[in-house]
């Protein structure tokens, strides 16, 4: 039986499950939704899944690094979102559509 510091390992696994499901659903959404904005939203959701895992681990090990890490993840998510939305607006001005498949001229 593992020594319990902050959280029982089986409970940790429950939170990890939620995190993993949110991450995986984000991945599925990224791969299947064709709207560029929704696609990026889905990457945010993947980050969200990571954040849940990180906070759970933070409690598990009874240190604060995980939560601090989440702050940085939030920051990066915000930064990426700002850039991505700017890019999406540019792309939209160019082709008047948000369809990701509209951008497949380069291939081979």
């Amino acid at each position: 039986m593992p020594e319990t510091i902050g959280l029982h390992s089986f409970i940790l696994s429950h939170f990890l499950l939620t995190g993993a499901v949110v991450f995986a659903l984000g991945l599925v959404g990224f791969l299947s939704r064709r709207n560029l904005i929704v696609m990026f939203l889905c990457t945010e959701m993947m980050f969200q899944g990571v954040a849940i895992s990180l906070v759970a681990f933070s409690r598990y090990h009874a240190n604060d690094t995980g939560q601090t890490f989440v702050i940085f993840v939030l920051t990066i998510a915000a930064a990426e979102a700002a850039l991505a939305l700017g890019l999406v607006v540019l792309l939209f001005r160019r082709k008047r559509t948000l369809d990701a498949l509209a951008w497949s001229q380069l291939h081979g």
Partner: protein, 673 residues
């Protein structure tokens, strides 16, 4: 003994390198272009002089060969791994240097006349200088990695020079083919170097030989693999079965290049490499027999194909392959002396043959087809007789250069067969004799066709090399007037040929003791295998004679018979062709080509051989060529299979990436649970 001259020898590769840079600069300006040839010739000639100055220093006071390692600068030194820019000078190196710089100088002089007026005049000499740099580096290298540098360097120059006439698609294709086929061989060579380092922890010859001398005779399996990998490289570079396909096509390059690179020097790099690393090849009991068998098979195969060719340069190309096969046979029977001797003599007479073929081509505006020329001796008498001497040497006519060296190989093979009671080597020797007959035949078939008989010719399509390569109508400063009439070439071109002809006639007689001393004093001296010809007692006799003497008689007879056969069918009785043609006019019309009928008069003896030659030729073009090209085909298929993954959809890529990630994680977990 003062080491000054040996130190100066370090400059041998760098003079041509300097010349390459100067010629490269000459490329940029039309005014400077004429300077390229003198610079190049001077550099190579200077390298030759340096070689001669360094020559005495590879012998000790008693005349035994010794080696010097001449260090120039640190190239690669990573931990214990050392591969410096330093040179290994021993008698074998000297032999090779004499060939490379000597023949190189003569060919460069010839090319100064031959290439005159060509748009790529300076480019040509830049590439030739670079080639000499790479080739001298190759033969002087004191470690495998530097040797590999030279090896790849000559390959690159060969590529650049085969594709010299880049507006001919066939030339470009030939260049590409040469490079790719050589890469297959180089692959084996590179792996061999890696494995050598892995096994012996050094790539330096002097250390390697020291280790090998103390190696137990039972080598481990990885060690035994090394010679086979190296062999692959040698087969690629020296155009042996099945990697020879590039050499006939390589004749698309300018003729001096064919003479220098694809006959005299570069293609012998494989022979040199095996000779240099001979102790390594002795480690495996199977390596040398393999070399011998492949060499003989190549010699036979290429000689039969040469019988049915009409293009002069192609005949010589197949003949080169065939003669290289002889050299490999010599190596394979542990007679490195004979192999290197043949390399030396072959360099003289094959360079001579190619250059005279170049003169014919030059004079007939690019015409190379045997069927379109006859009786040229009246038009170009000097070329005629020069080529005659070359042909004699190639055919192995008594007391010419080729006679001595070929005999040495065949006698050593036969001796190995007779003393060892080995059927294999006896068969190889007999096959070698048969190839000698074929060689004499096809060589003189060519010569009689071109120079004897009634004088008639058709000019080629090219109105002089120079003019042909000015598609945009730009004329160059140097321009040689081309009469539309065959003419003897000028003495700038013929003078070097005289030297070569002298070599082709006399080198065998003059050098056959000298070469033995040279090789026995170098690393190519066989250590483990029974020494063939020199130093050891001759056990075998034939017809109660010393084997070598017997072999001389036999091969003299064979050569003479071969020449006579060729003379009958292609000179004396050639009129038969016309008679047959007249009688079978209908058939001729059907064949739509009178020249095939020319060959109808070949007797029952020669025809089957020629037929086999055709078969081999078809086999060559369809099977072997196809096989070699298949090697490039497989990755293509692989790529085609992968290509649908690059369809351009963002999310398609996402799915690919996610799949890869998921599969990888799954695999890792499966290791766990």
């Amino acid at each position: 003994m003062d080491d000054r001259a040996i130190d100066i020898a370090r400059l041998i590769p760098w003079l041509p390198a300097l010349s390459a840079v100067v010629c490269g600069v000459c490329c940029t300006s039309r005014k400077l272009r004429v300077l390229a040839a003198p610079v190049c010739i001077a550099a190579i000639a200077a390298a030759f002089v340096l070689t001669l100055k360094a020559y005495p220093h590879v012998f000790d006071d008693h005349g035994h060969g010794v080696f010097h390692v001449s260090w120039l600068f640190t190239w690669i030194r990573v931990g214990g791994f050392t591969a410096d820019m330093s040179y290994y000078l021993d008698p074998l190196t000297m032999v090779m240097l004499i060939v490379v710089t000597g023949v190189g100088t003569l060919v460069a002089i010839y090319a100064a006349g031959y290439m005159a007026g060509d748009r790529g005049y300076a480019r040509f000499f830049a590439a030739v200088s670079l080639f000499i740099f790479a080739m001298t580096t190759l033969v002087m290298a004191d470690n495998l990695v530097l040797l590999y540098l030279g090896w790849e360097g000559v390959g690159l120059c060969s590529y650049l020079l085969i594709g010299f006439y880049y507006d001919k698609p066939s030339a470009v294709a030939a260049a590409k083919k040469a490079f790719i086929v050589n890469r297959i061989g180089d692959l084996g060579f590179a792996l061999g170097i890696f494995l050598t380092y892995h096994q012996f922890a050094t790539v330096q010859f002097s250390e390697l030989f020291q280790i090998l001398a103390t190696q137990p005779s039972e080598a481990s399996t990885p060690v035994q693999i090394i010679p086979f990998l190296l062999m692959l490289g040698a087969f690629g570079k020296s155009a042996q079965l099945p990697l020879y396909v590039w050499l006939p096509d390589a004749m698309e390059g300018p003729t001096p290049v064919s003479a220098l690179i694809h006959a005299a020097t570069m293609v012998t790099a494989g022979v040199y490499m095996i000779a240099r690393l001979f102790p390594l090849f002795e480690l495996s009991p199977y390596a040398l027999p393999t070399v011998a068998i492949v060499g003989t098979a190549t010699a036979l195969f290429a000689a039969t194909i040469a019988m049915c060719q009409y293009d002069i340069k192609r005949i010589y190309a197949y003949s080169t392959i065939s003669q290289l096969g002889y050299m490999f046979l010599g190596l394979g029977v542990a007679s490195t002396t004979a192999a290197v001797f043949h390399l030396l003599t072959h360099a003289f007479f094959k360079a001579l043959l190619f250059l005279t073929a170049g003169s014919v081509m030059h004079s007939l505006a690019g015409q190379l087809d045997l069927r379109h020329m006859s009786g040229m001796r009246r038009k170009m008498p000097v070329t005629c007789w020069l080529m005659f001497f070359g042909c004699l040497a190639l055919a192995g006519f008594p007391f010419t250069a080729g006679f001595y060296s070929k005999d040495m190989i065949l006698a050593d093979t036969l001796q190995k067969g007779l003393t060892g009671h080995s059927t294999l080597y006896t068969v190889l020797a007999v096959a070698g004799l048969f190839v000698a007959f074929l060689t004499a035949f096809y060589t003189f078939r060519l010569w009689f066709r071109v120079f004897m008989g009634p004088t008639k010719y058709e000019m080629g399509q090219e109105h002089g090399h120079g003019a042909d390569h000015h598609p945009d109508g730009v004329s160059s400063d140097i321009k040689v007037e081309h009469h539309h009439e065959p003419h003897e070439v000028n003495w700038l071109m013929n003078a070097p040929l005289l030297v070569l002809a002298a070599g082709a006639l006399l080198a065998g007689y003059l050098a056959h003791h000298w070469i033995g001393d040279m090789i026995q004093g170098s690393s190519a001296r066989p250590l483990r295998q029974a020494i063939g010809a020199h130093g050891a007692a001759h056990h075998a006799t034939l017809f109660g004679m010393d084997l070598h003497l017997a072999m001389m008689y036999i091969s003299s007879v064979i050569a003479v018979v071969g020449i006579a056969t060729a003379a009958y069918f292609h000179w004396l009785n050639r009129g038969a062709a016309d008679r047959v043609a007249a009688k079978w006019a209908g058939l001729v019309r059907v064949l739509a080509n009178k020249y095939y009928v020319d060959e109808l008069n070949d007797s029952v003896i020669v025809r089957p051989l020629r037929f086999i030659g055709y078969l081999c030729f078809v086999f060559d073009r369809l099977i072997i060529d196809g096989l070699v090209m298949t090697v490039g085909f497989v990755p293509r298929m692989f790529g085609l299979a992968l290509r649908p993954a690059q369809r351009g959809a963002l999310q398609g890529y996402g799915i690919g990436m996610a799949t890869g990630t998921a599969v990888v994680v799954l695999l890792v977990l499966m290791v766990y649970f």
